[in-house]
Amino acid sequence: MIVDSYRFLPRTFRPLYEGRGPFPGEEDPVWKPFAKRLSESRIALLTSAGLYLKESQPPFDLDGERARPEWGDPSWRSIPAGAEARELGVAHLHINDADILADPEIALPMRLLEQLAGEGLVGGAVANHVAVMGFQDRALNDWRQTTAPQIAAHLREQGADALVLAPA
């Protein structure tokens, strides 16, 4: 089965995504072989579903996006692997968040990853995964200069061997 990338996208949006090619300056392949065994590797997850901890973290800045529709909050949140569904909020204006709130594993499968670690498929999971909000301005300057380096530093601190990126 070949996945139809545009099956769930409104037809009029397709030209906004199709055939755009790489970002300028990002044409070259990025590749690093995965040298370790999966069963000895610590894995991190990143979701772009806009998850945050309701009690201790601010939601992503949706008012800012409403004021400037072409801008999206470029900050990120550290999500503890043991966070319960009831502790998580979703701040994302581009998706219906009902299913994610009912079962955050569909965006950030932290419990499942722990289970796979328990079964020995992976060596382990980081203590703190990562959440961002996926709608971003086209230039991505904040991402390049601040967000991505901060997330990379966080992943190094967590001892992550690899990151699974999950778009929302």
């Binding site: 089965m1 769930f8 990002e26 995965f34 996006e65 529709p69 072409e70 581009h94 968040d97």
Partner: protein, 91 residues
């Protein structure tokens, strides 16, 4: 969900799923489906032979397309979509 876009943006390893937006790992509370996605992602992570490896998951979304298409969308249009719709209406 949009593996063609991931290829264009030069992602090194890609798993394609034909799921509605907001559901990268599948249906709520369907642990078997979620496990199939995450296991495939981990196997592609560790086993891909080179840049641009893409493996699509052979799982059909178990909700009729019209219903699923409506269900993933926010209750009101996002600010950028609203702006586009307003611009289209005035042009």
């Amino acid at each position: 969900m949009m593996p063609a876009l991931a290829e264009e943006r030069r992602a090194p390893r890609i798993v394609g799923v034909e799921f509605p937006f907001g559901h990268a790992f599948g249906m709520p509370r369907d642990r078997a489906m979620q496990r199939r996605v995450l296991e495939l992602a981990l196997r592609v992570l560790a086993g891909a032979a080179g840049f641009g490896t893409r493996v699509d998951l052979d799982v059909e979304w178990p909700v009729p397309i019209r219903e699923a298409y409506r269900a993933w969308q926010p209750k009101e249009p996002s600010p950028i979509v609203k702006k586009m719709l307003e611009a289209r209406a005035t042009s």
